[in-house]
Structure formats: C-alpha cells, structure tokens
C-alpha cells in the first residue's frame, strides 16, 4: 500500500497505465452521470411536486433568453432565405423558397441553434452555479439539513430545461420564418402567397414533431450535462475545487453538451426521417 508521501507512489506511469486510468475514469464518469440523471428523473416523477422552483428556473432558462433567441432567430432566418434564394434562383424555382426555409428551420436549425444558444446562456450559468455550490459546501449543507439536493436543486432545473427548450425553439422558428419572409419577399420580391403557400404545403406534422422531439431531448441534455458537471466538481481528477475548478468544468460542460446536442440531432434525424 503506497504511503502518504507522494514521492514513493508516483513512478512515471507508462502509456498502458495511463490509457487504463483514463478509461476507468471515463467509465466512472459515465456511471456517475447516468445515475445522476436517473436519480433526478425519479425525483421529478415522485411527489411532493412543487411548481414555484420550476417556474423560477423556467424564468431563468426560458423567459430571460427570449431576446437572444429572437435576435439569433431573425438573422438565421434571413441568412437561410438568402442562401436558398441564391441557389433556387439558378434553377428558376424561387417559389420553393418558403418550403425550404420552413423545413430547414423547423427540422434542423431551430432546435439545434436554440440549443446551442441556451448552452451558452443558461447551461454555462447552471454549471457554474452548481459547481460553486459544491465547492462552497452548500450541497453538503443541503444534505445535512435533510434536504435532497437532487429534488431541491437539480430536478427543477431539469424540468425547466425540458419545458423551456420547445417553447424557445418555437419562437426561434417563428421569427426565423419572418426573417426569411423579409429577405425573400420584401427584398427579393418572391410572392408572399408563394412563400407561405409552399411552406404550408411541404411542412407536415412529422416535421413539427421532429422539431419538438429534438428540442425536448436537447433541453434534457443541456441541463443534465451542465448541472451534472458542476455537481460532481469534487470528483474531478485534478485541482478540483475553487475558481479554477469551476471554470474548467464549465468550459467542459459547454463543449460536452454542444457535442451531445449535435450527436443527438443526427440520431433523432436518422430515426425520424
């Protein structure tokens, strides 16, 4: 058994040892995060249910993000219309502009870009908040007051994420379509009737459903990863606590949830198309 002095215990580890250690660490992290999600979901599904904390989080994740979503949605709609117009005009089929904008926004761009914006705005904040609570012993204090941190702290955030993302995505889609209208119809003179008619004809329920499923999944993923990374700050391998630890897990949470969102996006698209 290695003694408390680090001098004896650390002989330079070889490649295999490090690979093994990294793999074990990865497995441990996956298990921890999985258990974290299950525990939180079980707290969401069992009484007592409380509305107030959830509303507070919906206010933070959802309501206070509306401006970001409206602004980015407008510009994304505009640039999508611009790009499609430029392509479609070469084939003489600008009448397809409405359906192209509508489909791409509702199926892909709306859910994904909303999720990415919310990761930057709310995911990072959630991770930092939970991480600081961990490093200042506030989560231990909750435990010691017999207040379940999963129920009190994490569950409202997760539920709020699942509720907010579809709503924000809907806003994003709408302003995006309006932005596309502005570029396509007002600037380039595509017929207003053709724009909306084409959209109404080509966008079917399955497309809308895909957008909703995606945004629900993204809401869950964002809060799960962000809150979980902060929650397990103390289980990090290196220099866990304090400001540096919080900043590192926050960066990590943003990167990880972005990747997870894009990967899930592909998964859902491939299943539902």
């Amino acid at each position: 058994m290695p003694e408390s002095r680090p001098t004896e215990s650390i002989a330079a580890p070889g490649l295999i040892e490090r690979l093994g250690a990294n793999f074990l660490y990865f497995v441990e992290q996956c298990g921890m995060m999985g258990a974290f999600l299950l525990e939180t979901l079980s707290k969401i599904l069992t009484p007592p249910f409380r509305l107030r904390p959830v509303l507070k989080q919906v206010h933070f994740i959802g309501a206070r993000s509306w401006l970001v979503i409206v602004v980015s949605g407008t510009f994304v709609g505009m640039v999508v219309a611009l790009q499609f117009y430029d392509t479609l005009v070469r084939f003489g089929s600008v009448s397809l502009l409405g359906s192209a904008v509508g489909l791409s926004l509702i199926r892909e761009l709306g859910p994904v870009l909303t999720a990415l914006m919310i990761i930057g705005r709310a995911g990072s904040a959630i991770c930092a908040e939970v991480g600081i609570m961990r490093s200042e012993n506030q989560i231990d204090a909750l435990e010691c007051m017999s207040i379940d941190p999963y129920r009190y702290l994490i569950a409202p955030k997760l539920l709020a994420g699942i509720v907010s993302l579809p709503l924000l995505t809907a806003i994003f889609d709408c302003v995006g379509i309006v932005g596309g209208y502005f570029v396509g119809v007002v600037l380039f003179g595509v017929g207003s009737g053709a724009y909306f008619e084409g959209m109404a004809e080509s966008v079917v329920w399955n497309d809308v459903a895909m957008g909703i499923v995606k945004s629900l999944a993204f809401g869950l993923i964002i809060v799960w990863i962000s809150a979980g990374r902060g929650f397990f700050l103390h289980r990090e391998r290196v220099g866990a606590f304090g400001a540096e630890g919080v900043s590192r897990v926050t960066t990590n949470a943003v990167v990880l949830s972005s990747i997870a969102v894009l990967f899930t996006d592909y998964l859902i698209s491939s299943v539902m198309l």
Binding site: P2, E3, D140, C144, M145, S146, Y152
Partner: protein, 271 residues
C-alpha cells in the same frame, strides 16, 4: 448494556474508523466516544484528517472500514431515508457558513423549517428571528450572503444549524479566519447553546485557545489516529511529543533523511 453503568448512551461512537482518498490513507483506526451534553473538540493540525473525520460523522463519506454510530444508529448501515430522518436531529455549521447565495439571510435560516415543518409563515419568521437575535444578527435579515462579513456568515451558518433545535451540533472551524474578538464571541455563542439548549456540540478546530476555552473534552488527531482524548487539563499536561509541540506551538522536527531529500529535489517534476 449493563443497567446503571451509564445513564445515557453516548451520542456518537466511532470504532476503528479507517479511510482512504484513492490509495492515500487518511484515517488509520480512529476510536471516539462522545457523551450527551458535552462540548467535544476534535483538534489537529492541517492534514491531520479532522475535516475528513467530520465528513464521516455527518455521513457524507463512506469509510473503508470501521463503524460510526450517531444517536444510536449506524450511519453507514441505514437507508438514505433513515439517514435524512436522523439528520433532522443534527445541525451543522460549515466553515464558511455555506449559506445559499440565492437566498437572503432570513430565508437561509428559515429554509430547514420550511422544508421539514408545516408551521405557518409567521411562526417560521418568529423562530428564525429568535435564532438570529441569539447570534446578534438582527437587523441584517434581508441582506444577501454576499453582503455579509466572514464572521457574520459564520454566525448565520450557526443560526441556520440550530434553527430546528437539534440534539447534536457540529461546528467546523468556528474561529478560522476571524479576528480574536469575533472568535471569542463565537465561543460564547457555543457555550450558550450548550447551556441554554442542552445540545451536544462537536467542534472541529485547529485553534488551541478557543478549544481550551470551550471544550469539556478534547481529542487530538495526529497522522490519522487519535493521539489523546481527555479533558483540557489532561491535554495541557500530556507528555506526548506531538501534543506538547502543538500546545507549545513548536514546529515539528522530523529527522531529515538526506537520501530521500535529495531524491525529492532532483525528481523531475511531472504530474
């Protein structure tokens, strides 16, 4: 139990507690008994394992081996539900207060009452204000934790810890980072809690002066074991070198192994 041997069972019993961080051995067989109504101080330098021991007593860590009984229950052998029920009889004041940044001072103190009782708002308000009054914090109810000083945060943490009138109170480093006057005031608060509310109080600290002032009994931790358990008098008069060094504030003089020393210096610093 033999009848008449002891009136009340001990509040905390620790039997040969062993724990590790990874491969590093932190506690190597700790035995402790804490009796009802006493102020028990766990003392030790930094790295002696006293914070780890506290986390074990609170059930926040699982030991490698050994048994811990708190208020008659083995805290590593009960369900989460039972642990939560047990903890309602326990108050914990954390080092930096550990107040929730999103709640005001009074909301922090009210939180345990709101979560665990069905009292109406005005009763909860009165009970919380009583505890704030006791800690000389009245008038600051609506401030946020970020607006409070270190000493106030500690007192607020203490107010929150005792708001449910626990039987057992843990206090982590009451005097760390405080000026002597504030620290002496906190000692007064601790004594008053024991006398007025008959709590059993476990204090973890490295401050000798404060420990000698408040303790009924002291356990001195060193290198992961209990070097001595005894009254203030016994600790003062102990001839264990580790305790003598601590009481006399002498730096420990470890013999230097020149071979190992050179090896440590020349070891390429890669982590």
């Amino acid at each position: 139990m033999v009848i008449g041997e002891k009136a009340a069972p001990p509040v905390i019993e620790v039997e040969s507690l062993v724990t590790h961080y990874g491969h590093r051995n932190i506690l190597g067989g700790v035995d402790l008994t804490i009796e009802r109504g006493e102020i028990f101080v766990i003392m030790g330098g930094s790295g002696s394992g006293k914070s780890t021991l506290l986390r074990h007593l609170l059930g926040l860590r699982r030991p490698t081996s050994g048994r811990i009984r708190v208020l008659g229950q083995d805290i590593n052998d009960i369900s989460k539900k039972e642990l939560y029920r047990l903890r309602r009889n326990i108050g914990v004041a954390f080092q930096g207060g550990a107040l929730f940044g999103s709640l005001s001072l009074i909301e922090n103190v009210e939180l345990p009452l709101r979560e665990h009782t069905k009292l109406d708002d005005s009763t909860i308000g009165i009970m919380s204000r009583m505890k704030l009054e006791m800690m000389n914090l009245s008038g600051y109810e609506d401030l946020m934790p970020s607006e409070l000083s270190g000493g106030m945060l500690k007192r607020a943490g203490l107010a929150r810890a005792v708001v449910m009138d626990p039987k057992l109170l843990f206090f982590d480093e009451p005097s760390a980072g405080l000026d002597p006057v504030t620290s002496a005031e906190l000692d007064q608060h601790i004594l008053r809690l024991r006398d007025a509310l008959h709590m059993t109080i476990v204090v973890v600290t490295h401050e000798l002066e404060s420990a000698f002032k408040i303790a009924d009994r002291i356990a001195v931790l060193g290198d992961g074991t209990v070097a001595l358990t005894g009254t203030v008098q016994e600790v003062r008069e102990s001839d264990d070198p580790r305790i003598r060094n601590m009481v006399n504030r002498k730096p420990r003089d470890e013999p230097i192994d020149s071979e190992a020393y050179l090896q440590r210096l020349t070891r390429s610093s890669r982590r």
